[in-house]
Subunit: 446 residues, 2 copies
């Protein structure tokens, strides 16, 4: 999807202008991070970097964009002329897509003249947010799936076109096997799956007739929906019609009712008829909590179609990412507001066995550094990994995560330490700011 630089909050543009009007062109660094994980999340999965790189590369104001800004009667002509030539000239450091991350860890840093770095804020946040939100939800579902197949069935309830595409992509990134979204199959090269809806069954005189018609169309590939009228009777009819037509029944889908009991009964019917390879697929109102229950109760389900609650991350529909100024003109900065604590300066994250350390960027510590340069002079420094590679990377990272962190019910905090040097910098800046505040208050009382 092609973006526009006007896909931003107006204040990014008013600030851009105010910086230039005041001659402020020094370099600044902004870091994207999460202060505190959402209530129901012990970890987050980073994603959306591909979109950020694309939007930075294509960041140009068209004539229509500038004409629109002119019509707002907010900006002088010299500034509008400046925008016509605008390009991003800075650097971006980032974690890899599929990386698992935690509180206070910078996942991405933009370094550029302050007005350029500021302009990126809204679009970068928007794109990283939706992809990481969904990759995280997908990972939670993957973590309870015990090897069963997982398909993204959420397209009808995702928040619009762009979310529909990103939900499909990030489901695959974080362990799902396929999507029902055909365009995602085309664009991302991921597997697509589909069965049949209740309306199809209902449009025929009888369920048997509907099964016959669908098996005729897809003799080797049909998954029959068997719960339109009565699931157990539906299973018997599916067997009967498949036998009559001499076709191998690939699968049956259950979309309602007590799926634990029904799947056991359906399995007995299928096995009893020699249909041992016919898969049972379950859909309808699923998320990690429900899938975990279903599998704990021993339901013989081969795959799940996961929809609405997954595609909207319904139990936690947003992540409080922030994009904060951490360095300006070579000097580390931070904010003191209560509840808005942050660490100053350009940072790195080192991953070791069972713990992470957040440090200053130029420290060399034990462990694997997670942030790497992806853009320099406004251009990508290398090709980003393909979706399949990122999926493999996620699977590896996720397998290294301790089991208690993957608990979907219990809040467990992963140990994220702060290096000695970063702690020292924080303390010294804190003192400085407190002294300034006292001075400020004294000056005001004068």
């Amino acid at each position: 999807m092609k973006s526009s630089p006007l896909f931003t909050d107006l204040y990014e543009l008013t600030m851009l202008y105010a910086y230039l009007e005041n001659g402020k062109k020094e370099w600044a660094s902004f870091e994207l991070f999460v202060r505190e994980l959402p209530k129901n999340r012990n970890y987050l999965v980073f994603s959306g970097l591909n979109d950020v790189v694309e939007l930075i590369e294509n960041l140009r104001f068209s004539k229509e964009d500038v004409d629109y800004l002119y019509s707002l009667n907010l900006f002088p002509n010299w500034f509008l002329d400046f925008l016509k030539e605008f390009e991003f000239t800075g650097k971006v450091y980032s974690m890899r897509e599929g990386e698992v991350f935690f509180q206070n860890e910078p996942v991405l840093r933009v370094e550029a003249p302050i007005y350029e770095a500021q302009l990126l804020e809204t679009a970068v946040m928007n794109q990283i947010h939706i992809s990481s939100l969904i990759a995280t939800k997908a990972a939670r579902i993957f973590s309870v799936s015990r090897g069963r197949g997982l398909s993204d069935f959420s397209l009808r309830r995702t928040h619009g076109f762009d979310a529909g595409m990103k939900v499909a992509r990030n489901s695959y990134l974080a362990g799902f096997n396929s999507t029902s979204n055909v365009l995602a199959g085309k664009v991302y090269g991921m597997p697509v799956v589909g069965t049949v809806a209740h309306s199809f069954i209902m449009s025929f005189e009888s369920e048997e007739e509907a099964f016959r018609a669908f098996l005729k169309a897809f003799p080797e590939k049909a998954v029959l929906l068997i719960d339109t009228y009565d699931t157990v009777e539906g299973a018997k009819k599916a067997v009967k019609v498949s036998k009559e037509m001499g076709v191998k029944l690939r699968g049956v889908r259950l979309d309602s009712g007590n799926v634990v009991e029904l799947s056991k009964e359906v399995r007995r019917i299928l096995d009893g008829a020699g249909f041992t390879e016919t898969k049972i697929i379950v859909s309808g109102g699923l998320d990690e909590y429900r899938i975990d229950e279903i599998l704990k109760e021993g339901a013989p389900v081969d795959a799940f179609g996961v929809g609405t609650k997954f595609g909207t991350s319904a139990d936690s529909p947003y992540i409080d990412f922030v994009y904060k100024l951490v360095e300006y003109d070579g000097k580390p900065v931070m904010k003191l507001s209560p509840g808005k604590r942050m660490y100053p300066g350009r940072k790195q994250v080192f991953r070791r066995e069972g713990e992470d350390v957040v440090s200053l960027f130029d420290e060399k510590l034990k462990g694997e550094p997670l942030l790497e340069k992806v853009i320099e002079n406004g251009k990508p420094v290398k090709k980003l990994p393909e979706l399949k590679e990122s999926r493999e990377f996620f699977l590896r990272r996720f397998s290294e995560l301790p089991d208690e962190i993957k608990d979907i019910h219990r809040k467990v905090e992963y140990p994220v330490h702060v290096s000695e040097k970063l702690k020292k910098l924080y303390k010294s800046l804190e003192r400085e700011l407190e002294e300034e505040e006292i001075e400020g208050a004294e000056n005001n009382n004068n």
Copy 2:
């Protein structure tokens, strides 16, 4: 945004093929409705029709689309050739954008050869869902705003590009005054607003210097953010700098802290300095619940910037719209599954004072019919209302709604009745289906 017919669930395409393969080309009617309103909603606001009309008009399979489908190895060549020529030839009936609606009321109906009507399902649901979800959330916020200004500040946390645009549009549709989303301003002609971020304040040596710089850039239009260090001190500095520079301060923004106490203190400081026209704008973690509290406690807030919880409809991030076959080949149909009750046949909704009646489409009842034809032979029958007209329509409809239904805390069910003719049809179909079921079970026992 240009859509693709592949933005759909694969099963819509497998059904399309199975219908054609079995010679089924009869006309069918599908209705879009909600069986039960979400837990926290007493009403819903219909929106997204403009997108549906656009996507239907542009529904064409490109050569690349067909090539991709060929690569799936699912469909024969005659079907792929058929898709190249595919166009929607049917009718669409719909409520108007901005209409308030309730449980079991069809908001939109597609009538076409069954394979065409089926193909639209996913994209129609996706687009109506996000727009109606957000229009509804906006209406709830509007309902507690007591005439205060409302701005959409949610762009950084909406679910992607498309949601970002639709959130802005539907905020305006349902009573908001403006958005921070510049592209929405350009595309929809709605007012845009913006102030300044904490990072701007922090990039200067002192808060006063930052205020001076921003007032220099926007002497008549500046809204200063005063909570970066200390809100009360910030208010004093904003007054001091404005006086020094001889400019009128348009507004101040508070984004943290106890905004009830702080806004009162800030109002005293502003009024004491003669800045009685300077507005107080509050943002940060707002939704209808919090805004209602803030105003109940008498906070002198002039406008609210509403972000994440609004733009993701966080307390209810999805609506269970369904798209159900109600008529096939001239005969009304319905499904019997427990908990999935629905009314058969093509329907109309009549609105009367304090109640709605759902009837068969050709009934003539007292009240105003809410569904009207918008597409015939695949083409729009008239121009849809502009956003501003739809906003006025919403405001009128919303003002007619009883106060108890607008209660944001208490669940109250609006009376939606079913006409006698529709009840009779339901009963007779129910009997028919039950008899078939008994017969089916008997046949299976043979």
